[in-house]
Assembly symmetry: C2
Homo-oligomer: 354 residues x 2
């Protein structure tokens, strides 16, 4: 606390990211990273830039990356915004579109950064309860609002909203921006980006941190109507002209170019998820349907918080949220086949002892 | 323009960065990049990270980089804040300390991003005129204010404020934060960081884009009292938990570790600046005293705007600002010995023709 802070700083309750321990040999199943590394072509593209040209500023608008993404999704470059991780993209989205007279809406159980962005920008919000089965009912969002945002698939639940329900929402909510935060869409969901040309208030946000295995590089993007992207660009150019460096752009471009690698690792994660769910159910876990690279589980007998501590002591990190309704759940990232086997072995041991 | 924008978005006048043309063979003397690349040890450190671990999130607080910077400057880690370029650091500084009831103060001729940050955060500001010789008189800042910021050396002038004047200002201005933006300090200035332990309202902002040759990597930092850094961390953790990726941290750490390389290239730039100034004066340019890696010049006969166009046509970019008081000046980055010779040759030709 300091008398020099702007008034609102003292009131901020910052987001708590999942632990990034600097300890070797921990199996990290707590922050939904991909068990597979980025494409070798990504590493080669970065390698090629390790030279004296790093002394030069990057292109301020990352045009090469924008046009690569546009081409990949059959959009125009002016429909693409890029940023330093999807969190930065989301921050600009909240600032640019959600400072309205009505409160914005998002699920009560969801990405816990949303209320933090609201604090940062003085945005009023209303949390809409998920159904008892943790499904997201978009019909509940048909109420006056200054904007709507939800992850799809949702985190930490993993549950997916079908595209036709998103279309219904957009049909009936044309006065505010609807943001679909698709960080996990590549693990089995259907993206809302096919609706972008039909709805000028739809914004789809993606990250390269999950399916594209580049959490360590900080790259995210948003897709939407030209006027929405222009609004984001105005903010970005009033905040930091050069959010992405040379290596971020090169890594991202190469990632989009290596389609086969991407499809292969997504397929492997989805397959591993199926096997993991089956095994967890065999250990008396209740597992929510998941379209993401994690599963959200609750044990019929064991307390989730206690289980997460036990797992940590034995070298596996999973995520436990101290939050009403989900305090007895664990969010477990789908790891490699070996990591999942290790987790399951530990769970068997731990459950036997409890 | 879109009806979905938050009200203030339409009013933003974004910062215009110097051109980053994607054309080969242009001599770029317009954005004050270092003519020398980063240390070979920086490239090696980045090389070592081109592997599958890029799938993992970085440490959210970049602790390794903070402790390296702290050690380098004989400070404590809790006195260091890091961000994605010094522009991001400055944005958080404006948001965190400058939203006050009194207007903030900065020079009328200065970094043109300052008024843009003010727009973004709704901050009232007053521009304090530089003296006729473009020197910055800190005694003019002894007036009610919500904060003070100035670059030292100033840009685009290159002029330096001596440390004792900064100390005098701090002695008489203890109710608001004083930010010394030292992007160019390593080319001959004396940093205000020696005053940090004496003044809890002093913040010093640095970048790795200039003297450390890493503009393409986007790394900046701030040094100050623990409570100021804590305020910045609260904002950062409400905006983007992971602003710096693995390679940014590794590059920055290695840069601080290779002291000899750093000293050598700074020395070379300073030496080249001296020679450049002498030659420019020989061509009838008035050159302001410079403690930066650029010179601010005005020709006794030739119009600056016209000269900048002529130079561009012949392959050299310099920076011209359409702004009262300095419309007849050019800001020219000190390039390599070869680049400077090329520039001088062109200037001779161009001046002879005009």
């Amino acid at each position: 606390m300091s008398r020099y802070w702007s008034d609102f700083v003292a009131s901020l309750q910052p987001y708590t990211p999942g632990e990034q321990p600097q300890i070797d040999n921990l199996v990290k199943l707590n922050t939904n990273e991909n068990p597979y590394g980025p494409s070798p072509r990504v590493l080669e593209a970065m390698q090629a830039l390790l030279n004296e040209d790093l002394r030069l500023y990057p292109a301020p608008n990352s045009d090469r990356l924008k046009s690569t993404i546009a081409k990949h999704f059959k959009l125009d470059s002016c429909q693409v915004f890029v940023g330093n991780g999807s969190d930065e993209v989301l921050a600009h989205v909240f600032n640019g579109f959600f400072r309205q007279s009505e409160p914005i809406l998002f699920p009560d159980i969801s990405y816990s950064f949303y209320p933090v962005f609201c604090q940062l920008y003085g945005i009023d919000y209303r949390q809409v309860a998920l159904a008892d089965d943790f499904s997201l009912r978009l019909t509940d969002y048909l109420q006056p609002n200054g904007g709507i945002i939800f992850p799809n698939p949702n985190s930490p639940t993993g549950r997916l909203v079908p595209l036709d329900e998103i279309r219904l929402l957009l049909d009936q909510n044309s006065d505010s921006v609807v943001v679909v935060d698709e960080a996990y869409i590549d693990f089995g969901g259907v993206s809302a980006l096919s609706l972008i040309d039909d709805y000028d208030n739809l914004l789809v946000v993606h990250t390269l941190s999950k399916a594209r295995s580049l959490a360590g590089m900080r790259i995210g993007y948003a897709l939407g109507a030209k006027a929405l992207i222009e609004g984001l660009d105005r903010i970005k150019n009033s905040f930091n002209s050069y959010p992405l460096g040379h290596l971020q752009v090169a890594a991202a471009v190469a990632s989009f170019e290596d389609v086969d690698y991407f499809n292969d690792i997504c397929h492997r994660v989805v397959k591993a998820r199926g096997a993991l769910i089956e095994s967890l159910e065999g250990l008396d876990f209740m597992v929510l349907p998941s379209a993401a690279n994690f599963v959200f589980v609750s044990h019929t007998q064991c307390d989730a918080a206690q289980l997460s501590i036990q797992l940590r002591e034995r070298g596996v990190l999973v995520r436990h949220f101290q939050q009403p309704r989900i305090a007895n759940f664990l969010r477990i990232t789908v790891g490699s086949v070996q990591q999942n086997a290790f987790l399951l072995g530990l769970l068997k041991e731990t459950l036997a002892e409890l």
